[in-house]
Amino acid sequence: MKAEPAVSHRSALPLAGAALVILLGFALVPLFAGTYQTQLLTYGLIAAIAALGFNLLLGYTGLLSFGHSAYFGMGAYIVAFLAEGYILIGLPVTAILSALFGYICVRHTRIFFGILTLALSQVLWSLAFKFFWVTGGSDGLRIPRPTLLGGLVDFTGPGAFVRFINVYYYYVLAVFAICVVVMWVIVHSPFGKALQAIRDNEVRARFLGLRIRRFRWIAFLISGTFTGLAGILWAPLNGLATPDVLYWTFSGEIVFTALLGGFRNFTGPILGGIVFTYLKTYAVATTEYWQLLLGVVLVLLVLVLPTGIVGALTSLATRFKAREKS
């Protein structure tokens, strides 16, 4: 007997359609916006990828990492060290680093987990800071403009910068789209459901026979690798890798990003990454007290919109629907 469920297969078709429309919208941006705006949005997409990875741990596994700068920074430095043609070579390196640090960190949860992630990222930062003959110290390393797609696309000659920004925007957009799809599948897979179960109730999850630590470790590995990928993409755009992106305040920015968009929603960190990039850029441009401005935003966020932008919009929409019904 097959009792037909009250909720039938929720079709992913409308969702995919909406995503495609948004992607098309993004693809049109460089045609209308100037080079500067395109560049800024590229930074936004990169921040979104970093936050997307970060949120697999915070939103779906229930672990707050305060050291994701390590993977982002590692990605950036790896590009500075080896990449000319293939920046994505850095990906396995960030994956290995995430696996290594993750293995240590997932032995604990809650504040102890957070402190461990923080401590390990600070180790990396101090290495980058002190070993200046390798890393350039606080001056950092210059990153030449890379060629893309294995040397098929290069950027020399007149107008190279503008061309680079436009092409690189599409490159990042493509990677971003892939990341979103991959992450969406992960959080909706049986593995992703298990992560959420562990987040909600560790004891019960153990009594389903799940090996908790292993799940957390793999989540950490994926999370760090995504954030590392963001660092890899960021490096050529920025043209310089400095210890700033390894420092703990940068980890804080990633946390901020997820909070801003809303870590309880899949789209929250994506929106958060883009909004934060604009917020910070314009705050810096407007006032030399930009950190104060961001601080005020953060306090307001936690007090007024604890579920972030997307969370607030969702509950607004739900309330609106409920009112329409009654």
Binding site: V7, V185, S189, P190, K193, Q196, A197, N201, F207
Partner: protein, 251 residues
């Protein structure tokens, strides 16, 4: 046929002997109730057998295999599952996902990272089957955190049942719900368990419930077994009746 057997099982918390050398036997197919006042050691016994706690000494045999030092994961694989006195659910996940996850875990499918959970037709069918048996089909899309207490108790049992255990421990499946709901829950649970030929050990305080549903009743007091028998035998035992009514021991 003996399904589970403990030999001289001991567990002590400070001065308190929660399990004082227990030889506990569960036969295949029975519906057994563990009764006794608070602190008698019932939950500790279940915790020891389900690997929530490690015993100080003694042995636990399941289907003639020594499982005393087996991990939780391996005991669940062997066929021992449990529900919890204080409801333990995945509150952020839907009712459907709570049960489905149990099935994914049982089938070893939680390693699947590149497939959508909702597209596994076998698991979907079985999940709705289980939800139907527990009368929770209409709630399948609701987050578990949004259920009423009685439904939460049922879902807690359903999640454990979906592991298809041979031996199922239910720690106070009817605590904290109204009398009317108690009967409802126990009717559902006992019929599902009997239909699925699962052996069940239930910790329960309500003696009406215990007498009505059990094949056998084991009574505990201060870490020891005080009585063991069919509901009729237990009713006839005056010493036990006194304790159940709260009178002090005069031995």
């Amino acid at each position: 046929m003996i399904l589970l057997k403990t030999v001289n099982l001991r567990k002590q918390f400070g001065e308190t002997k929660a399990c004082d050398g227990l030889d506990f036997i569960v036969s295949k197919g029975e519906f057994l109730s563990l009764v006794g006042s608070n602190g008698a050691g019932k939950t500790t016994l279940v915790n020891l057998i389900s690997a929530h706690l490690q015993p100080d000494s003694g042995q636990i045999l399941f289907e003639d295999r020594d499982i005393t030092f087996m991990s939780v994961t391996d005991r669940i694989k062997a066929g021992i599952a449990r529900s919890f006195q204080i409801v333990n659910l995945f509150d952020g996940l839907s009712v459907f996902d709570n049960v489905a996850l149990s099935i994914f875990a049982r089938e070893g499918k939680t390693v699947k990272i590149a497939a959508l959970a909702d597209h596994d037709q076998d698991v979907r069918d079985e999940s709705f089957d289980v939800l139907g048996q527990f009368g929770l089909t209409s709630k399948s899309a609701v987050p578990a955190g949004g259920l009423a207490q009685g439904e939460r108790k049922l879902l807690d049992v359903a999640v454990a049942y979906a592991l298809r255990p041979k031996l199922l421990f239910l720690d106070e499946p009817t605590s904290g719900v109204s009398t009317r709901e108690k009967t409802q829950i126990m009717d559902t649970v006992s019929s599902v368990v009997r239909a699925g030929t699962v052996t069940a050990v239930v910790i329960e305080h309500d003696m009406d419930v215990v007498f009505r549903y059990s094949d056998r009743i084991v009574m505990m007091h201060e870490g020891r077994f005080l009585a063991d028998g069919t509901p009729e035998e237990i009713k006839a035992n005056t010493e036990v009746a006194n304790i159940l009514l709260g009178a002090p021991l005069t031995a």
